[in-house]
Structure formats: C-alpha cells, structure tokens
Symmetry: C5
Subunit: 355 residues, 5 copies
C-alpha cells in the first residue's frame, strides 16, 4: 500500500507546476460524462463521451451539473478547464489524487476537494478523491471512477424530491457534499463493528496469532479515515463564514448541518482511536495475566514435588548405617509425612489464592 | 450497544435533508403534551394529546411552555414546527436523537439541544436528547419519553417559588437547562463511587476476573458522559456573549451560573479520566507485583531443595568404592551439612528481603 | 473523601437558583465577625456576633474590612448581602463551598472566590473556600472557619506596616489575596518533600507494600492542589486587564506581582506532576529489575545443579552391568568431573554478567 | 552526529553579532558561482569563480539568479552582501548552517532559509541549508555544496518550459522553493519503506539484535526531518499573507500550492511518528509473547516430569520393608500409572491452550 | 536540592510586599560594583564597593553600564533603586532569586529577569538569576556572584569591537542578553553528550546499577533548563513588538536574532526530552530482553535434564523384577537413548531460535 503511494509522489516530483498529470492507477478507465440540467419545471439528463459536447449547457440560465468520471483523460480535464476558465493549478489538483480535502476560493468559482471512503471487496479501506467546482449556475464534479454515492442525488433531481429543483447551484453543491458526508457514517459503523470484534476476542481469551498486527492495522485504518475527514471541517467552516458570494446566505444553514454531521463523525473517530489504545492496553494486560497463570502452575508443581523428591532421595542413599531404613513402618510413616506436606502446600497456595 | 447506534445512522444515510425522521427506539411511545402558561398572577396547566389544541396559547402575552414527549410522533413535530415557523432542518434535528449538544441562533428563535443523562435499571448510562426552542414569549421542549428532570420546574411554576413567575421566557429556558445540568452532578457521584470501588478492589488484592474489562467499560462510560456534556459549554458561552436579543441582558448572569456548574462537572470528568488511567497503571503494577511474588516462592523452593537433592543423589550412587558410605556417622553428618545449607539459604533470601 | 463531596452536590441538586445553602460540614460552627476600619491616621478593630451591628462602618470614608467566619449562618450572609446590595447568585456562591476560583465583575463590586489550602493533622490536604467582595471603600471576606492566613494582614493594619494604611480598599484586596497565594508556597514545599521521600524509598529498594497506593494518593493530592490554584490565574489576569474601575491603575502593578507568584506555583505543580509520572516509571522499572534478579538466582541454581543431579542419577541406576561402577577411582573421577562442570557454569554466568 | 553539531555551536558562542562565520565542515570546498539572467526572449547562463564579476547583472531589467555554492568562502558572501545592501545579521545567518527555516522580511528584500534533505551513501539523512534572497528583480541562493535539486529549474529556464521565463523574480523564488519541497516527497518515501521493513521484521519474528536501537534511530531521523520541514509552513504562510510587496498578488496562488504540499508532507511525518510508537508497542508485545512461550515450554516440561521423577524416587528408596517392591508386576503397573499421569497432564495443558 | 528551594520560599511567605529580601544562599559574598561608561570615542571603566560613588555617571550623555555583584547587600540595591527611581516591587524581584524570566515594562525603564545556566564542579546544573534594567542611557545589571558570562562584552567595550561603542544603551542590553543566550548553547552541548553516553551504555548492555536514577536525574535537569529558558521567548517577543520606546526600532532586528537562537535552544531541549523518554523505553525493553534471555537459559537447561533425570530415576528403582536391569547392554542402550533425546531437544530449541 505504502509502495503505491510512493509511486504517486514520484510521478509528480520535479514536474513543472500547473502540469495536469493523473497520479492514480485506474489509467485504462473509460471516460464517462453525464450532464444534468434543471430548473423548477424541467430537467434534462444526458451522457457524453467528449467534454466539448456539453459546453452548450453553460449558456443556459438553469442549473447545470457536469459529472466527469475518469481522471486519466487529462486532456478532457484541460478542455473543460479552459472552457470554464479554471486556474491551471486547480486542474493539476483535480488529476493529482493525493490532495487533502480543501477549499480554494477564486473570484468566480469555488474549488472543493473531498474524499469518498468505502471498503473494497478485500475489506481494505479505499479513499477516492472527488473534486467539485461551483460556478455561477453550474457544478462540475470529477471522479476517478463512476461511483454510486451520488445516486440518491440523481434520483432527487429526476423526481424533483425535496427542495433541489427549486434551488440554485450552491444548493446542489451542498446536496453533493452531504451525500459524501452521509456516506462516512457507514464507514463509522464498520469501524465500530471491528473494534467490538477485537474486544470480544480479547476478553474471550481467543487471542489469535495475528491479533497484535490486526489491531495495528485497524489503528492505521482509523488514521487514514481521520486524515480524509478531518480537514473537511475547515472546508465547511470557510463556506459557513460566507467568504464567497457564490454561496447564498440562506443556503449556509444547510452547510451548518453538514458541519454538525462532520463533527459527529470526527468525534466518533477520536473515540475509536482512544478505544484502540485501550484495546492494546487490555491485550498487554491479558498477556501478563496469562504469564502469571503459567508461572503459578509451574510454581505450584515445582514447590510441591521438589521437596518430596528430596525426601525420597534421602532414603535412596546407600549409607551403611541409616537407622530409619530398618524400622518396619518407616515406609508408611514416610508416606504419611509426604501426604501431610502435600496438603500443607495446597493449603498454602489456597491461602495465596493461586488455586 | 454499538450495533444500536449504527442502526440509528443507517436510518438517516441517503435521506433528503429536512426530512423529519425519528431515529430512536421508543417508537411505540404515546404522545403526551403538557402546557404551562403563566404570568406573575395566574397560571394554567393543561395536558393534550394533539398539538394543535395548544396553539391558542401562542397569542397570549403570558409565558407559555409546551412540553412534547414522544419524538416518534413526527407529524406532530412537523405541525408544531409549521405553526411556530421553525426551519425544517431544526425539526429534523429534534427527531434525530444522535445530535451533539448545540445552539443554533435564528432570527426569531433559539434552538438548543442538550443531553439528559441517567442510569437505567441495569446500571447502564443512558443519554436522552432534549431539544429546547426559545421564542418571543414561549419555550418548546421535546423529549423522547416523559422524564422527571423537569419536575422541580413544574413545582416552582405551580407554587410561584423563586423568581420564575415574575420573569420572561428566557428565564424559563435558563431554569430548564439548569435542571438538566444540576442532574449531571448525580451522574458525577455515581462515577466517583465506581472509581472508588475499583480502587478498593485493586488495593485489597481482590482482583476479579473481569476487572480489566470493567475498568475499560467505565472508561467508555466516562467518555460518553464527557461527550454529552463537553459541547454544552460552548452553547452556554454563546448565550452569554449575548448573540441573540431573545436573551435579556439581566438573565445572562444566571446563564453564567450554569456555565460555572458545567466547568465544575467537566473538571470532575477530566479528573476521573486521569484516575482511570492511574487505575490501569496500578492494576498493571499489581499484576507485576503478583508475578514477582510467585517467582520468589518458586525460586526459594527450587534454590533450597535442588542442591540438597543433588547431595542425596550423590550418596545414592552405586559405585563399589565410595568411602563415606561406610563411616558410621556419615548419615548424621550429612543431615548436619544439609541443615546448615538450608539455614544458609534462608539467611541469603532473608538478606535479599524475599522472605 | 469522594463520598463527602457527593453529599455536597446532593444538597444543591434541584434547588431554586439564588437560594443560599451552606454545602459544607462545619454546620455547628459559631458565627464570628471581625471588622477593621482604618485610614492613614486611625484604625478601629472590633468583633461582633451579629452582622447588623457592623453596618454603620459602610457610611465612613475610611476603608472597612468585614471578615465573616461561619458560612453555616446563611441568614447572616443574606442580611449582609441585602445591605450591601449583592446579587442573590453571589450569596449562593459564597455559601456553596464547591465553587471554582473565579471572579465576577458587577457594576459596583467585584466578587472573587479563592481556595485556601492547608494540611490537617492527618496530613490530608484541605481546600477551604474564601470569598472576597470588593466595593467602593470596603472589602468583605467570608470563610468557613476562622483561619490564620490573614494574621499577617491584621498585624500590618494594626502596626501600619508597609503601605497598607495609606492605600484604598483595592490594595487591601490585593494584600488579602497575596496572603492566600503566599501560603501556597508552603503547600509546594510539602509536596516537594513527599516526592523526595518516595524517590529515596524507591532507589534504596525500600519498596513498601503500599508504595503504589501512596504514589497514587500523592498524584491525586497534586491534582487537587492544581485544581484549586489553576483558575486563579485567570482571576488575576482579568483584574490586570483593568476590567473594573474599582481597581486603581497603580494597584495593578501589585496584582501583576501576585500573577508572577501564581505562575511560579503552577509551574512547580506541573513539574511535580511530571515527576510523579517518572516515579511510577521508576517503580515499574525497579519491579522489573527485581524480577530479573529473582529469575537469575533461580536460573543459576537450577542450571548448575540439575545437570549434576542427572549425573548422580545415572550412577544410582541398578543395571547389572555398568562398568564404571567397579573401577576403583570412579567416584573420585566423577567428583572431579562435577567440580569442573560447576566451575564452567560459574564462568558462563560470570561472562553473562549474571554474577 | 551530536558531537558535530556541538562543535558548530562552539564556533559561534561568544562571537560578536554580525560576524560572518562558516559553521559547517565542508571548509575546503571550492567556490562555484553560476548566474542565470533571462526574460521572455533571451537568457544568459554563466559560471564565475569570483562574485564581483557578476555584479553587472544587477543593473539589467531582466530577472537575475545568482547561485553561490561554497559557504566557506565567507569573504565572497560579505562582498555580495555589501553590493546588494544586505543586513550583516542576514549574512551571518547564511554562513551559520544551524539556522531553522525562517523568513525575514526587510524593506527591499526577503530572506528565506530552507533545509534541503537527502540521504547520503551510508543511508544517513543529511540536512543542508539553502538560503534564498529575493530582491526587486533578482534571486540569490547560497548552498554549502553544489546540489542537483535545482537541476529541473535550470532546465526549465534553458528550454523556457512552463511559465518561468514570462514571470518575475518572485515566481523564480517560488519555483526554487517548490523544487526543495518536491524533493521532500522522496524522503517521505524512504521513511515509509523503512517503517514497513521494521513491521515485516517484527511480525515475521525476525527480531534482530539491534532492532530496538534501529527503531530509535528511525525515530530520531523522523524528528530531524520534522524539524527541518515544520517551520517552513510558517514561512510560506507569511508569504501568502502578502506581507511583502515583492511578492506579486497573482504569484501567491502558487505559494498556496507549496503550502498544500507541505501540509501533506507534515501530515505524513506525523503519521510516521505515530507508527513508530506503534512499532515500539508491537515490539514490546512480541517480546512479552515470546517470554510467554518460553515460560510455557518450561512449565510443561517441569510439570510433567517432576511428579514422575518423584514417583521413581519413591521406589529408589532403600527401606527394608516396601511391599510394592516385591510384587511381580509392580514395575509394569508403575509404568502404567506414569503413562496415565503423563497423558492427564497433556490433556490439562491442551485444555489450557498451552499446546 | 529541593530542600534548599523550599527554604527560599519560606523566607518570603508572609512578608510585606515590596520588602527587599535576598532569598539565596551566598549571603557572605562581598559587594562588587563595576561601571563602564562609553561613547564612540572614549570609555571609562571603574570598580567601586559602594553604590553611591557611581551615581555621577547618570548625568552624562554617554552610555553607562553599572554591574552589581552580591545580592545579599540589599541596602545597596535599595539605594540604587531610589536613585534611579525604580519601583519597590522591582527591587524585591531583583533580590528574590526564584523569579521566572520575565519583562516588566515601566514608563521610563525596562526590567528584565533572565537565568544564567552553568554546571558547577560536581556536574550539577546551577541556575543563577541576572536582573537587567534598561533606562534612557544606562543599563543596570544585578548578579548573585561575579560571573564570566559578560567577559566577552567587557572585551568588546574596551577594544571597541563590533558596533557596541557606536550604539545606545538598548544595544548594550541586547549584547548582554545575547551573551546569556549564547551561553545556553554550551549547556545544550553537555546535555547532548550526556544523552549519548546513556544510549551507548544501554546498547552496550552496560546497564549500571543506577542507570534508572541517572536517567531520571537527567530528565529533571532538562526540565530545569527548559524552565529557565522557555519564558525568555516571551520576553524577547514583547521587546520585538516594540512595546517600549526605549528600544530603538533598528535595534529590534538584533533582538529578532536572539529570538531565533532561543527557538533553536528550546527546540533542542524538546528533542532531548523526547529522547529521554525513548531512553526509558529502550531501557525497559532491554530489561525485558535480558529477562527473556535468562528464562531461555533456565528453560533449555531444565527441559533437557529433567526428562533425562527422570529416566535415570526409573532404573534406580529397587523393584525385584525390572527386566531391563539384567540385559547386558541395557546401560549402553540407555545412554544411546539419552543422547538421542538430548540432540532432539537441542534441535527443538534451535528451531525455536532460542540457541
């Protein structure tokens, strides 16, 4: 995993700033562009495979959402950038998928980077970059691959559910970002389940061989999630501060709602981090407790039988003159002494609560 | 527990913003609405089962407190919201019981979310959401179930105790929030008792099997309490800053009093957190100390008897010519040597302070 | 201890705000009121047992200090509050001894809460609340019991030592608070001594049974002291910022001096906290070191004698044909072999630095 | 390493401020000066070995970049400082290579110190100081030795790649700093690889002798990197705040890009720090687990054979009357008993999951 | 050490504010006053033993530096305070050597407290207080004992080295403070060396008896240094903010230089603190590793010889009928079995990598 990330960096090191280079791995992905154009009364939905075909929508007064999937098609990104008059560094950031979530406020558009998180088939967490540009009456979104996180948004536009068709582009941006943040809750659920499983394992004494490593992996997963979500708070917070005229004052109430959700997610993540530390603690303690138990067994066995063996050794000696050897009941008396010793030892360990 | 919370989230993921959905579990709870209307001279107290019946009170100049229990009746919440002109996102937050404590300041009303904490019959801590809306001359409160935390407030209104009947709605909001915060002190008491019990257990050596897990559970409980109370400080702090004209400048002194109480609660919680860490430390140390004790017993037993057994072994050998075997007092001399060795060992361990 | 505090809370939970209730335990304490009235030339000192008798002093232009001991006499506090026109919440805070140190700035008086710390006869740290009210030309102080921390101030007024008699009431407030803060240094001394004692114990190997618990107790003590002193910094800092006209600009230099002292105290406390953590670390390390030593003794004894015992066992076997048994010098050769083995073992452990 | 740094300090202690002293070790390095002078249409590139020869370029309107390698030639630095009217303290800082990254804003020039990081042949991380001065239409750079980090910049100037030839000196400063920051990503890669290697080692049980020390060394390496990179954030942040008129408002967008990269690097470093802590944790846990395994083997062996040996000892005794000795099948019955005991023990340990 | 500090406090507790009391221990130190008076062309240097003799210098336009050694002569400090019109609290602070580094800005002078650090003959770190007062055209310095940290400054004045003779009193203050801060670097060197020594000791396995304690002592030393240096940053930072007209705007550049040095020192100290924690970690790990090694030796010895001894015990039994005893080659066969067992064990431990 780390190896991959490194390669991403390498593609960029030493490049001329403003060069649009795709740093991801899905480089054979086909281009897929979908356009939604709507106002309160009508809506148009079309798919394209060349970005130029959808430039006409910009002239319309209605809200236009252009969703481009396939960041490997950098020339398409450059075309769209030129048409919408986007700064070259923004285009570079769109294609460079190792960006942190951020907001850049330009005079006539907003550029927002968010991270979409999901688990792949192998239970590995995947963080995919989604770039959003909000202009006067349009929203552009750029994704590596066509995801389903925006499906609910598509549905709402088609069926005119909620307020979406009666609102401007700034509300569309809100709805899209809300869809991403809502999705984080499902990640939170999975993390919570994983922690619970570890706990059950540790307390049931079912200490698997790789528990140690698995806990560390989970720790790292949480770190990764945190890193994808944390900076988003500042993004929303800057929108709330009404730094850009593109966001209507009335829409800001909605962004405040996203902010509340984000805080909830971040709080949960921080609690999970603390719980992971506790898990490690409990794991260490359970190891120590096990060791203690092992030591007790050894000590009890050795303490009981070593003195008895010594006594047996005494009367195995071959001295010519050992008077006890010749008494008739010596052997049975000795057994008696040994049994008494044995019971005394047991009582001693009982009192020490080792048994 | 975690499983439950997850389900809460799931109900919300992908929903249209502004949809009022009850995310809790008490979905068969009956609706119960009570209204208090009072001024210095008179007061009216009535119960209703339909929210529309109490809309008339709004017209009056006197202070009106409408307390709605049963968040599952979302249509009632929507009706009341429409009548009092509340933003749809606020209604959504009222029904969504996984909110953090917060304050949203609107032009003509304040929306406050607080958490009421109590222990249920199984000693599990329960955090119930209470939403409060302060308008010009009314306070609306929304609870999942009818609690008794507001009982003292009801009593004061009925009997005109203290200043309550001579003051406006902003003072009523203060009294209600104060009742919630006062209740936190009883939580603090229980936490303090629990910690004390653990301490006694650890120091008395009464290290139960599940102590480890129990401490972790308490840690999590404290985390939960902290999370319910912490954000409230900012809520009060924003009220104190006089951001809304609905709060009279003279009433702010009273909110400062709540703030002081909150700081006290939060400080206690933070101290308990540190104490829990200390408990874990002491627990680990006591395990190590136990291990040490076990090892000492083993070492003493083995170190004393292994050499003696060796000596016995020597004279158990069957060599034809072992001169000592044939001396008359060999056996008794050997016993003497062994006793001396035994005592020397004991002194050695005594000096090492292992005995 | 914790149990006590809890009861304090309980007295307050559910009370009407502004109700003056004594939450402490010294409820049979007699009331004792002393009054100092002075200017540059004269001074009067009188004791009273009813607060009304001393109200005449308020009219005078000279500085008046009314010191009330016995917070259980809440009606007296209410009387004085009414006479001096103090807000009911302030009176409530005076009697509620679980306040944090704080300053409340009202239009015509300042209300300051500080904590006086001292050790009782059982070496337990006691934190007693002292409330101070600074008005135009008077200072009121409220204590649970008559303490001796203000003795030096009394002396200075009587003998006109220093600047006190030439200054106003704001200087008197400074002198009283300075007396409290000065006293903290003696607490610091005792804490420092205790830490040193623990260190000596741990390094001298004199690891008493309850060392673990004692260290935790000291930790808690330091926490308690910190909690009593920490918030005071903000109190002084707000006075320094000249938020109230009652404090003369020239007197502020003196408050800055208190601030410096406070920072010194707080710094020391934080260093002690770190030292306590180090102590725990050293204690754990010393336990591990001890365990190591125990293990070494066991290992050396067992490793030396177990092989020798095996050899002895070999020649204790009863096989008909063991040729070595019949050689004349077998026994002595065997002894030789064993001694060589013994010395080899010793050298081996020597090289490993276990001896 | 530490020894070296100390010597650096010693050279400076007690010196008169403003004295230009080279504190590094490459004191026999030859001076090497290269000059680039360009505008949109032309560019000149020349090498010199005396700084005075390149003073003529200052008069030109075109952008001039003077790159001086060899800080040991302090008189050359002083000459260039005099010519460009640089403050003596700045010259002192250029030659004193133990500076932190910082920016000093003077009226007619900016002074920036950054750290270039690379690994030498022995895999040790080297931090080399690069000082940059931005004037009206020139950039001066000072390096200890001629590095290759600026190679890509040279290339871009020569081939007029990107925007560089069309922009002013402030853009050149950006390009140079960007080259340095870009290079940090390769450091990040190596650190990431090292951590991964340690992890693999620990989990594969391949716990080398010096793992402990190696982890500590890596920790220190990360600390060193962090220290070189962290303060740079503030440098860029101050440039962004447009504190100096030398930086064009349009160029600031580019600096914001560097800032984003820096945050990415710093975030990675902080994650690596946490991972190192986790590594130590896992290492400790793996040691404890090993100990546990060792103890189990010992306990199993001892617990099984010590009782059996005791039984054998019993029948090795020489009492005259031990009835069992004379029964015909005693020996075989005893073997049976021993085998049963042996199996019982195995089952006991199996149930305890030690086998 | 702690005991000493405590006594210092005791001298002050309960004192009237503004009383000048020497709280140190060098109470028999003789008074020593030296005066430098200089401008660009001339300089006078004189020693006095009574402070009144040097009051004439104040009238002169030239810069005057009065350096007083011997804080026990409090009446001399009071005289000088009266003459230069210094606030009594400042004089109290000069004599009270437990001050934190701080700056107090008065209308016509600045009061600065710094700590000079050095190691005494016993390798204990000593922190000596130096108070500096900057007036219109004079600097007063107060030291407990005559130190040599200002020697380089004396030399520069005498020989007119650098800018010192051409500048005002604010530059002299800078030079004096710079001398103190420069000296910190030598402390840093010694700390660095000490840490390196500990590391070498731990890794070479040369774990001395008192290593634990020595590390804790170093930790405390670092704490002490940190405490003496940390607050100085704020002192310089307030000078930089140009809060006082006594500091010329051009001189501030020089103070910024001190600030950079301080940050360097503080950063190093913080790194050392982290390294100390790492040292403790490594120490703990090395103890655990040692224990592991001890346990392995024990386990190998016991596991090999206990079964063999058991076998020998079997054939030492005295049963009448043990068929093996009478076969001719039994004894040799048994030896063979034992050797095989022995080798099997060795291979087993080899595979477990314990050998």
């Amino acid at each position: 995993m780390a190896k991959k990330r490194n390669k991403k960096y390498q593609k960029k090191i030493g490049q001329i700033p403003g060069t649009v280079i795709y740093t991801g791995e899905k480089s054979t992905r086909e281009l897929f562009i979908e356009v939604f154009n709507y106002d309160n009364d009508n809506y148009i939905e079309k798919d394209f495979s060349n970005v130029e075909e959808c430039f006409d929508f910009r002239q319309l007064d209605t809200v236009t959402w252009i969703n481009l999937n396939g960041l490997n098609h950098v020339n398409q990104i450059e075309k769209i950038g030129k048409h919408f008059n986007i700064h070259p560094l923004v285009l570079e950031d769109i294609a460079n998928i190792s960006q942190r979530p951020k907001i850049d406020i330009y005079d006539d558009y907003l550029f927002v980077v968010v991270k979409m998180l999901y688990y792949d088939a192998n239970e590995n967490i995947i963080s995919e970059q989604v770039s959003l540009i909000l202009g006067e009456n349009y929203v552009l979104t750029f994704q590596e691959a066509e995801g389903d996180v925006f499906d609910s948004v598509r549905g709402r536009i088609r069926l005119a559910q909620g307020r979406i068709r009666t609102q401007n582009a700034d509300y569309l941006l809100y709805v899209l970002m809300d869809a991403v943040v809502d999705h984080y809750f499902s990640i939170i659920e999975i993390l919570s389940d994983k922690i619970e499983d570890f706990e059950t394992d540790i307390f049931s004494g079912n200490v698997r061989d790789h528990l140690n490593k698995d806990i560390q992996d989970l720790k790292r997963e949480i770190l990764k999630v945190r890193r994808a979500i944390f900076p988003l708070r500042e993004v929303i917070s800057r929108i709330e501060k009404h730094e850009s005229p593109l966001i209507n004052r009335k829409t800001i109430t909605y962004y405040r709602d996203i902010y509340d959700h984000l805080i909830q997610v971040v709080e949960n993540i921080d609690i999970y981090r603390e719980m992971i530390w506790s898990l490690m603690d409990m794991y260490m303690t359970s190891i120590s407790n096990k060791m203690n138990e092992v030591m007790k067994v050894l000590t009890i066995m050795a303490s009981i039988f070593i003195p008895l063996t010594f006594i047996a050794g005494i009367y195995g000696m071959n001295f010519d003159y050992i008077p006890e050897l010749h008494y008739k009941y010596s052997y049975f008396i000795l057994w008696g002494v040994m049994v008494v010793l044995f019971i005394a030892m047991l009582l001693f360990f009982k009192r020490k609560k080792w048994l």
